[in-house]
Symmetry: C2
Subunit: 272 residues, 2 copies
């Protein structure tokens, strides 16, 4: 089984992949979320893994934007707690003068850095693995997953330096197939209102779900490319795509000329 | 009049500031959105300017998160078209081997860069002004506003390299005061549902607006810190905070134990 993921090696996405598929999958690192979508679309791999939402930072915009037009489906989801570590050649925190990291990791460790390394120079790079690769002297450090210490032969200075202990990222498994329905299901949809004044009609978009008694677990708006200040809406609702309530809601929306795309139907991990 | 803004000098926020306040304001650059909020809260300045939404990238998360708890109000809004330029010591595009920029600017010029400079090394920095400051040889370039050429004594290689010609950013003017009502008004609110299953009750949150016939111009969800997978909602609605319809809707929400914070009431620039 071949699975592509948002790399590089040691990324949180790879940790999610291993947690989901175990050690047997052939793990293929990609440089961008777009390239993970591409490898799945072209059937170069069986599955792809990308982040979709972080409990602290919110939605991963790129994943949402690609889901609007892609032919791939959401096969499943998995979430992992994000633990950030300070990593270096040395274990001596006092020596650290420069820290490399992805800007998002700096943001997640803001308070800890201010309290413990207020004078260190923060240098942004494209990924935490690139940061780990850059660390070459005892006054340099990087921020990232514990796995980076093994991959790049580095030492752990301090673990769990993230400010929010609730820091969790949800990942989606992309595929062409839909899994067999079982247990507590969740259906993900993208809804595109017909006119330019999209948000004005949001209440109408939600009405069919309310009248069918469907519980909405999440709603997320994204800009609708090409039309200024219009939006498409991502909706996760409780239930299976085979439930008559969800089928009725989708039919009602389509009758109103509202475009509905089914992204996937899978067991919900969010409310265990 | 003293106005702080998200700097550094030459940033798109400064361009918005000058467009709104003219040349008479004392423009004070801040290093982060949080510091702009801070200077307004502590009355070190009369106004602050920060970006809130980009038509291409979506919401500016940091601004939304700070608005949840801050004591400052949205005094007004202004939007500007974002034009990205390729800038260097030279005017010869063929010489360019390295390009410095904020990751968001790379994202906005992705197709142009792939078509015109496919082999250039892209180096991320914290701001486009920092990028301009770094450019020191003829094989280096940066991406940013035309204003950077004057500020850093650089040459324009190519203007309007952004992929989307609809690329527009909306900025808010922060202040302690509310402006005199005039013309077409817009009211901005933050709504925090009482229970943990926030998004499930979204339809109920919107119901009071629908039954009062209030037009919703925008809705945006953000993670609710401290509670996994719960959300707060930012709502922009058409009308003034003195309209009985809006007052009624807010009263109905509060009766249901839903926290409503009024962020501001100001003339709408979005639908001229």
């Amino acid at each position: 089984m071949r699975v592509s993921y948002l790399g590089p090696k040691g990324s949180f996405t790879q940790i999610a992949l291993t947690k989901y598929f175990g050690d047997d999958a052939d793990e293929i690192s990609q440089r961008s979320i777009g390239e993970v979508f591409n490898t799945v679309e072209k059937r170069m791999v069986d599955y792809g893994v990308v982040p979709i939402e972080n409990s602290f930072e919110g939605s991963i915009n790129n994943t949402h934007d690609l889901l609007i037009d892609s032919t791939v489906k959401i096969y499943d989801e998995i979430q992992i707690r994000i633990h950030q570590c300070l990593i270096s050649k040395t274990t001596e925190i006092n020596q650290i003068k420069k820290i490399y990291s992805h800007p998002q990791s700096f943001a997640q460790c803001q308070s800890w850095l201010k309290a413990n390394l207020p004078n260190a120079e923060l240098i942004p790079v494209f990924s935490n693995s690139e940061a780990a690769e850059t660390v070459s002297t005892d006054d340099e450090a990087c921020i990232g997953s514990l796995r980076l210490t093994k991959l790049y032969d580095l030492e752990l200075i301090k673990k769990d330096i993230e400010d929010s202990k609730e820091n969790t990222t949800r990942f989606v498994i992309l595929s062409h197939e839909q899994q067999e329905k079982k247990g507590h299901n969740k259906t993900s949809l993208v809804i595109t209102p017909p006119d330019s004044d999209a948000s004005g009609s949001l209440y109408n978009l939600l009405q069919p779900f309310a009248s069918e008694g469907i519980n909405l677990m999440r709603i997320e708006s994204r800009p609708f490319r090409g039309q200024l200040w219009s939006y498409v809406f991502f909706i996760d609702c409780e239930g299976s795509i085979e439930d008559s309530s969800i089928l009725n809601a989708i039919r009602t929306l389509k009758e109103q000329n509202i475009r509905v795309k089914i992204l996937g139907c899978y067991p919900s991990q969010q409310h265990p």
